[in-house]
Each structure stands twice: as C-alpha cells, then as structure tokens.
C-alpha cells in the first residue's frame, strides 16, 4: 500500500512553462481536485488514461511528452 508507481511525469515543469499555470487551474481544466494534481506531480498517483490525455491536451503536447516509465 502507498508505494509510488514507476511512472514519471513532467506536469510541474510543463505547468511552469505555461505562464506558471496554477495547480488549481490545471485541476479545473482536467476535472480533478487540486490535491490530485499535487499527488500526480509528486508521483504518488498515476492518473487514468483519460486524465493523462486531458493533461497533455492542456499543454498541447503528446502523452509521451508528459509521462514516462521509470528506468
């Protein structure tokens, strides 16, 4: 229980590159809570495929540009 999934992401970096988009703004854009965005950025939660696509669309990049596999 509580083990971090082996999936990396660049959500925080992309957010900062997009005029310092806030966590709340991203959360509202993809339909989750701010705490879920925080959990994704900290690697504590791997989003669903739908949310992963929503995040990549917000940043205008491909899913593989946001998420990766550790190692």
């Amino acid at each position: 229980m509580g083990k971090a999934p082996p999936i990396t992401n660049r959500v925080k970096q992309l957010r900062e590159e997009h005029d310092g988009m806030s966590q709340q703004a991203l959360a509202d854009a993809i339909g989750v809570t701010r705490q879920t965005v925080i959990a994704i950025e900290q690697g504590k939660y791997s989003p669903s495929l739908e949310s992963a696509f929503r995040i990549s669309r917000v940043f205008g990049v491909g899913v593989e540009d946001v998420f990766g596999w550790e190692g």
């Binding site: 229980m1 509580g2 989750v32 809570t33 701010r34 705490q35 879920t36 989003p47």
Partner: protein, 137 residues
C-alpha cells in the same frame, strides 16, 4: 486538505468518540443475556444525527468542493478503503463468533461483538481513506 479528507477526519473522529462512549456505557449489556435493541438503536440514531451535523457543517464551510463529485483518485481511495474495512469487519465478526462458540456467554455477547466489529470497521474505513488520500495509491 480536500473535502473528502476533511469528511473522513470528521467521521473517523465521530466513530472513535461514539465508539468509546458506547464501550464505556455498555456495562448494562453484560448485566444480563438480553439483546438491548433499544439502547443500541439510540446509539445508532445518535451517530446518524451527529453524522448529518458534521456533513452539514463541512458542506457549508466548503461549498465549492462539497458540490463536486469525488474525482478519480478520491473514488479509488474510497473503494480501496471500503475493501480493507470489509476485511476488518469480517475478522471482527469471525472472532466474535469464535469467542461465542468457544466460551459461550450468551447471545448478547455475540451481538455486542458484532456491533463492536461494525464500529471498528467503520472507523477503519475512514482511517484507510485518509491513508490512501495522503500516501497515494
């Protein structure tokens, strides 16, 4: 802290407080072998009323979040917490049945054991929710 976590803290605290009060005042339950349905009913009614008050206060103080449904991470945390709480309830009920089968003690003891298992399982559900929401899944 998210609305779901605040709710879990509130309800978990309620279960601990009411559970302890129930344990402290259950000496009547061991005085004879009758199942005290009315006393138990009073306890559950009190828990329901206090739950409504807690949820109402949380909804008023967190209007924006309270209106929104749980998101995917929260739903998963609630589902997993329910799964583990179900295991806690199963263990409690089996232990109560074993104690009743091995030592006897009357039907009221079995009844009280099952009620205690319900209270502990309900508390465990909220504790697991907080754990999964904080530590991740």
């Amino acid at each position: 802290m998210s609305f779901r976590e605040k709710s879990a803290w509130g309800m978990g605290t309620l279960m601990v407080v009411t559970g302890l009060l129930w344990v402290l005042h259950m000496d009547w339950a061991f005085s004879d072998d009758h199942v005290h349905v009315f006393e138990i009913a009073h306890f559950f009614v009190a828990v329901i009323i206090l739950s409504i008050i807690i949820q109402a206060v949380l909804a008023v103080t967190n209007r924006g979040e309270a209106r929104k449904p749980a998101d995917e991470r929260e739903r998963l945390a609630i589902w997993r917490a329910g799964h583990w709480a179900g295991s806690v309830l199963a263990v409690g009920v089996i232990l109560s049945a074993l104690v009743y089968g091995l030592h006897g003690g009357g039907a009221s003891n079995l009844f009280n054991g099952v009620v205690a298992s319900l209270i502990v399982a309900q508390f465990a559900q909220y504790a697991f929710q907080i754990y999964f929401l904080r530590k991740g899944m």
